[in-house]
Point group: C2
Chain length 285, copies 2
């Protein structure tokens, strides 16, 4: 049994205390088993239609978010999973508050929604590049000095309130930071450049952002500490070994879903009493 | 090699001429192979990001639409598939034109969208039950006499125009009618009533609609003849044997995708010239 407590963000963590290099043996094989269970439990969750689940995925470039989504949800009925990849906001999206585009993408009851990059980019990439905030045309923001720690902490409070609201409405929220080491990112970027089939994924921006590594780590640490709540916790997942990251994440998701004891709905009482009659009707056609 | 031409709707078909009972041997095993290929080709389609695909699924109750979606798209990355199940329109949806809710659910470039029940319900369930049209509050509809064949044929013309527009914009459109026999529906309904794990799917409405079987068949035949076009064809899939239906549909989808010769995008020329420089930067860090 995997000790999952150690990945969960309680209070006042130091990101540097979390391992990036953990390797779980036979993680691929273990993932396969979990996948089957995920598929089953998702079917019941869908049939019951009371809860939804939101999985938030964050991580530096090349941390393996895309392939993790592919592998973890392989066996789940496509009907029950929705993946939303959030990129640079469009003009339309910038004309709304920073949560709007995420709000309208929330999973419906019965479904699992996966956000590949999330609303947390609003306290992350914009904190590393505060000038991006000008694009939002906010009434109270005039100079770079206005986009300070208070500004981002206020956003985190609003994110917490937003998540509390959706949790209270029946959404199960789990948030994962794929914790990659700087060395491993280097070798993955080099591989992207070297492999023709991979190199379309490379962008010159990747190297620019890599130079801001420490600033990103600082911002991640701050947001993890301020937005990991009992109802919408963050988990820091060692991401240098891809099969390990996928397995740990899937295991946490499964364990959470199992708490809910989903049940297929039963036939409404009114109809229940008519079952014999319905069968007769069909048989006497 | 499967002769798929016979499932395609050309002009003036009689629905009764199409087989419901066809059984393809080892369909399960054949589907597995196709699934792997679908997964690969979808990855490339996604990376290329030029085309999207819309798969429309129609069929009588119990024709196996849900489980077909589960089985056919099992190996495709969840990121690349979106399933939309359209039920009775909501109040908000009724306040828009009949294509609106389908329009906003269209797949983005690179993705496969599956409509589980589709915009065709607007010339099907509403044709069987014309009084439903009153819910749309249309300016020119006052009496039941207004909701006549012309009314539905006009809708079909508009559907054809809508589909032409999305095809011209890069959406590959395939439409499937899961052709179930009346006897097979009977035994599936009885199974739903008999199996506790299945019976939540039963609704008394299923029996009412079954009584209108012939009317549905007539409406299907008419819409198939009027809306199967070269660019957005209908296929009539024998659906009494579920593995056979899944295999045939998957095979048609794969064959269509293979025509497009999707390619991973290459690195923009500007960046291509800098690859050596980028590698040096990383290696000299």
């Amino acid at each position: 049994m995997l000790d999952k407590g150690k990945y969960k963000v309680k209070n006042n963590i130091q990101l540097a205390d979390f391992n990036t290099k953990e390797v779980v043996e036979k993680a691929d094989k273990k993932l396969k088993k979990i996948r089957k269970k995920l598929s089953k439990i998702q079917d019941t969750m869908y049939a019951e239609g009371k809860y939804s689940m939101l999985i938030c995925l964050q991580g530096m470039d090349t941390s393996g978010k895309d392939s993790l989504i592919r592998e973890v949800f392989k066996d789940v009925n496509a009907r029950g999973v929705e993946v939303h990849s959030f990129k640079v906001p469009t003009e339309l999206e910038l004309k709304h508050d920073f949560l709007w585009r995420h709000y309208i993408a929330l999973p419906a009851k019965g479904k699992i929604g996966v956000f590949n990059r999330t609303h947390y980019e609003n306290v992350l990439v914009t904190r590393v590049h505060p000038e991006y905030v000008f694009g939002e045309n906010l009434p109270t923001i005039n100079t770079l000095e206005d986009i300070n720690d208070d500004f981002f902490h206020n956003r985190m409070d609003r994110i917490n309130a937003f998540e509390k609201h959706i949790v209270d409405s029946g959404t199960i929220v789990l948030k994962f930071f794929l914790n990659l080491s700087k060395e491993e990112q280097k070798s993955r970027l080099l591989r992207r450049l070297n492999l023709p089939a991979k190199n379309w994924k490379f962008s010159a921006g990747d190297l620019k952002e890599r130079k801001l590594w420490d600033k990103y780590q600082f911002c991640y640490q701050d947001l993890l500490n301020r937005t990991s709540t009992e109802n919408a916790p963050w988990f820091v997942i060692p991401a240098d070994d891809k099969p390990t990251a996928r397995f740990i994440l899937a295991d946490i998701v499964l364990e959470e879903l199992e708490k809910y004891n989903f049940k297929e709905p039963s036939l409404p009482a009114k109809i229940q009493g008519q079952v014999a009659e319905f069968k007769k009707q069909l048989n006497n056609e």
